[in-house]
Symmetry: C2
Subunit: 396 residues, 2 copies
């Protein structure tokens, strides 16, 4: 949105307060909860008011990890978090000439793309050797990095943030590779679960720092549920609890927690985490593990690569689509995927997330049927091509 | 392509003859096979030449069903079939003012769209009550029909073709609802398997009229394989052999038949037939059975509908996506789907074809994870919304 693609920020709100009030809800904006007593089943507000609950749902969200460097008190630092704050910042952006985005998290990638698109001189500073290295492999992210450079961005990898420099107002960002002049710094560090209230109430937190919930989003406290960025969820492949998922996960968790708090019975399952976004001039996406992450975790896998196209070769608007698949070496079940291309990345990521969840194999994908229609689909589907390559590599 | 979207027809060829010759193939264009002797393992050409074969692959394709009306000998009738013929017709189209498309097959839909897009006064004549009624339901095709009307096309449903009228050259198309003046008629009747050679050679044909092949594309004759529109393939849900699939099916069958003829071992499976196309101002697509067809076949099913969007609600380029799912009523396994929308139809059809093949249920789809990223994916995925609706309808 900071790329000026959206006409008005007001379009972003799902519904007004009045809409919820009309449905019989007691909505209190700008009201801070100070503490929860899970034994008395009460919530105490900052003004001292005490409210009883029958069921409680925690949706306390996330905080950006503290960058842990000097100068975070300067004006000119931007944490992308809530729409109202973003509305104010958008006005500021009209006066900004140069910006530094700190860390290439998903948000960082979106911000580099949006700021460069807006014509602001944009720098990306990241300690890793390539962008979003926790989820991507270098071959997948390379076209994105190339396109950022085409858009005028400067990429500083293997570079550590040292501090924010200025006198009241930001003037430069200090890094292990020197100072970068900037009017604005976007702090796009990892998301950490905001669990201050839950933790103070004695609700159990997990290894990832998120609130532990069961299959029905119940916390360790009776009649207290939790949903969204404040919880951790079990990864379906590694079985390890993870934290910091997407808005679509928060939405699905919120619906399930609300249903269950209201007396329903909706299970929330292990996650496989399809992801996708526009980055530079491309779309990237995937599901579960990259080659880099699977290797770091000591997993065995076979890889299949497929280079394809989004429409018939001769059709206007045709764009490349590259697919990489990772499979368990014994039975060739899919365990991860990554893509970069010009069209259809979100839909393929959704498909492949279901494929990982349901134990679909490279054999299945290599023989998948696909729509061939010149304006919308090519003769060969790159997912099938990648799966065939994977079978060859596995000697299957 | 007749809509002038493609700069040049020459772009359509995959490779030149020389390309194949360079790979050691003996390529003979404009050479007609007169007969096959499956005992002597020979092929006799029209000029009397006899060639021996070790392995033979039949790829004789399809013919359009004879419309069975007077006047098919007039000039001005167009059968869309081969690229070279299409190149000649394209010049003719520059002089055409009005055209009639006979039957709303997939090709018929593409031709109505292309001719209307090109500014030609276009009529569609079809005996059924709505377009492509063998694969679609009225609620799915309605937006397409509306958009054709917006584009200036005239739709004549419940209307039977009676003949082509003219003196040497087409002047009008006669129908059960009267004559329609036209310079051009596109004969887009059903495809029928071209099996003249196979049949004369004593190779077995199936109920659908296509050549019967086994799981390795072997015909009833030793060392004779067949692939493409001349064969029939077993439908994975109904287990009934069907004929007249897509170019993507022909391509996959050709690769499998070629591999097996060369001594390899590649299985070709039952088909679920994802389909999709641009029709009018929309994309439509689906897999397996529509509500109409499933009802006609006497099948029991539950339906789920989902109306969604292709990107975030506030993002430029956002388009509606409507999904309808059919599931087996007992275990809620998916048995069919249909979609109409503005983006991502081909990729969703591919996904849902795999879902039908692998026995994925409405429960699975209702809890699917989806990519949420405003420029490429909405918070709620319409496939999941439709599955949730299906669960509600099933009381599950």
């Amino acid at each position: 949105m900071h790329g000026k693609e959206i006409p008005a920020f007001e379009d972003l709100f799902l519904a007004t307060k009045q809409h919820y009030v009309d449905q019989g809800m007691d909505v209190r904006y700008e009201t801070t909860v100070a503490s929860i007593d899970v034994n008395a089943k009460t919530v105490t507000l900052e003004d001292g008011t005490v409210d009883r609950y029958d069921k409680l749902i925690l949706a306390t969200g996330f905080n950006y990890a503290d960058p842990g460097v000097p100068g975070t008190d300067l004006s000119g630092l931007y944490y992308v978090k809530n729409i109202r704050q973003a509305m104010e910042w958008d006005k500021v952006l009209d006066t900004v000439k140069s910006a530094v985005v700190c860390e290439s998290t998903p948000l960082g990638l979106e911000m580099v793309t949006a700021l460069a698109h807006r014509g602001i001189k944009t720098h990306l500073v990241d300690p890793a050797p390539w962008a979003m290295s926790m989820a991507t492999d270098p071959d997948i992210i390379k076209p994105v990095e190339d396109s950022w450079i085409e858009m005028g961005a400067e990429l500083h990898f293997n570079t550590t943030l040292k501090g924010f420099v200025g006198d009241g107002k930001l003037r430069a960002v200090a890094t292990s590779a020197g100072e970068i002049e900037a009017d604005l710094a976007v702090v796009a560090t990892e998301k950490t679960a905001n669990t201050a209230l839950a933790s103070a109430a004695g609700i159990k937190l997990g290894m990832s720092g998120g609130i532990i919930v069961d299959s029905h989003l119940r916390t360790s406290a009776p009649d207290v549920f939790a949903a969204g960025d404040c919880i951790e969820a079990v990864h379906g492949v590694s079985k390890v609890p993870i934290q910091g998922l997407s808005g679509a996960h928060a939405y699905a968790q919120g619906k399930a927690a609300g249903t269950n708090a209201g007396g329903g019975d909706r299970e929330y399952r292990a996650v496989y985490v399809p992801w996708g976004m526009v980055a530079g001039k491309w779309m990237i996406g995937g599901v579960s593990f990259s080659e880099t992450l699977a290797t770091a975790l000591g997993m065995d896998f076979v890889v299949g690569n497929g280079q394809g196209i989004s429409r018939a070769r001769y059709y206007p608007g045709v764009k490349p689509v590259k697919v990489k698949l990772l499979a368990e070496p014994k039975d060739l079940r899919l365990i991860g995927a990554q893509m970069v291309g010009g069209e259809g990345i979100k839909e393929r990521a959704d498909f492949l997330a279901m494929a990982v969840r349901k134990g679909i194999t490279l054999h299945d994908l290599a023989s998948m049927e696909n729509v061939y229609s010149p304006p919308i689909g090519a003769l060969a589907e790159p997912i099938a091509t990648a799966a065939q390559d994977g079978l060859n590599n596995a000697g299957a």
